[in-house]
C-alpha cells in the first residue's frame, strides 16, 4: 500500500482504457484502415471475374523485393517498439536512436519499392495497362505515400527525443508516432500476400 501522499506511478503495461498515443491518431488510423480495407476488397472482388489475368500478371512482380520490404517494415516496427520502451524508462536519447533506426528501415522500403516502380515504368507499364496493374500500382503507391508520411512523423519524434524532448512522464508523442507507423506496417502485411502471393 502506498504511504499517504506518495505518488503511485501506473506502469505503462497495465490494462488501460485507451490505446497508446493520442486518441486523435487512432481515429485517423481507423479511417485509414477503412480506406485500405475497401481497396483490398475491391481488388479481391475485381479479381473474381479476372482471375486468369490477375494470375498471369502477378507472376511479373518481384516477390524477393516484397520479402525484403516486408522484413524492412517489420524490423522498423520492432525498432519503434524499442524506442517506446526506452522513452517509458526515461531514456529519450536511446529512444531517438531506435527511432532513427526505424526511419532508416523505412528508407530501405522506399529504395526497394522505387526500384520496382522504375522497372515497371521502364517496361512501359502504367495504370492503363490492365486491371491488375491498375490495382497493383495504385494500391502500392497509396501505401508508399503512407510510408513517406510515417517516416516524416518518426523523424520528427526522433529529433525531439534526441533533444530530450520526452521524459518518462511525457511520451505520448512517441506513442502517437509509433501507433501510426504500426498501422503502415499492418496494412503492408495484408497487401503483400494479397497482391504478390495469393492466386
Amino acid at each position: 500500500m502506498p504511504e499517504p501522499g506518495e505518488t503511485v506511478v501506473e506502469p505503462a503495461d497495465t490494462v488501460q482504457p485507451y490505446p497508446p498515443g493520442d486518441l486523435v491518431i487512432w481515429i485517423f488510423i481507423l479511417a485509414e484502415l477503412l480506406v485500405f480495407g475497401i481497396f483490398f476488397a475491391a481488388y479481391a472482388f475485381t479479381r473474381l471475374s479476372n482471375a486468369e489475368l490477375f494470375n498471369q500478371y502477378q507472376l511479373t512482380l518481384d516477390r524477393d523485393a516484397a520479402l525484403i520490404n516486408t522484413l524492412a517494415l517489420l524490423t522498423s516496427s520492432y525498432f519503434v517498439v524499442r524506442g517506446v520502451v526506452a522513452v517509458r524508462a526515461g531514456n529519450s536519447r536511446l529512444c531517438a536512436r531506435w527511432t532513427w533506426g526505424a526511419v532508416a528501415m523505412g528508407g530501405v522500403f522506399l529504395v526497394v519499392k522505387t526500384a520496382e516502380y522504375a522497372h515497371h515504368i521502364g517496361a512501359g507499364i502504367n495504370l492503363s495497362t490492365n486491371k491488375f496493374y491498375m490495382f497493383y500500382l495504385s494500391l502500392t503507391f497509396f501505401h508508399y505515400m503512407h510510408v513517406i508520411l510515417g517516416m516524416v512523423i518518426l523523424a520528427a519524434v526522433a529529433v525531439k527525443a534526441g533533444r530530450h524532448g520526452y521524459s518518462r512522464d511525457d511520451y505520448v508523442g512517441v506513442e502517437t508516432g509509433a501507433s501510426y507507423w504500426h498501422m503502415v506496417d499492418l496494412v503492408w502485411l495484408i497487401l503483400f500476400p494479397l497482391v504478390y502471393v495469393m492466386r
Binding site: Y18, A44, L48, V85, R88, A89, L189
Partner: protein, 95 residues
C-alpha cells in the same frame, strides 16, 4: 531496487513477436516463390496474414493491454476485410 522500468517487460514478448512475424513472412514468401496456388493455399496464406496482423495489433500497437472496444478494433478490421477477401477467393474457385 532493481524494479524493471515501465515498459521493459514488453521487450521479451515483442522480440518473440518480431521473430514469429519474420518466420511467418518467410513461409508466405516460400509459398509464393514455389508458385503454389489454389483455394486452400490462398486461404492458408490469408490466415497467416490475418494472424500476423493480430500480432501487430496486440503486441506492437499495445492493444493486448487495452480494455473495451479499443481492444478489438484491429481484430474487427481483420475479420471484416479478411472475410471479404476470403469470400472473393472462395467465389472465384466455386463460382
Amino acid at each position: 531496487m532493481n524494479t524493471p522500468a515501465p515498459g521493459r517487460q514488453l521487450i521479451r514478448p515483442c522480440t518473440w513477436t518480431y521473430l514469429a512475424l519474420v518466420l511467418l513472412t518467410g513461409v508466405t514468401w516460400a509459398i509464393g516463390r514455389a508458385g503454389l496456388g489454389g483455394l486452400s493455399v490462398s486461404l492458408l496464406v490469408l490466415a497467416i496474414a490475418l494472424f500476423k496482423g493480430q500480432l501487430i495489433g496486440d503486441w506492437f500497437m499495445g492493444l493486448s493491454a487495452v480494455r473495451g472496444i479499443w481492444r478489438w478494433v484491429i481484430v474487427i478490421w481483420l475479420l471484416i476485410f479478411g472475410g471479404l477477401i476470403g469470400l472473393a477467393f472462395v467465389l472465384t474457385y466455386r463460382g
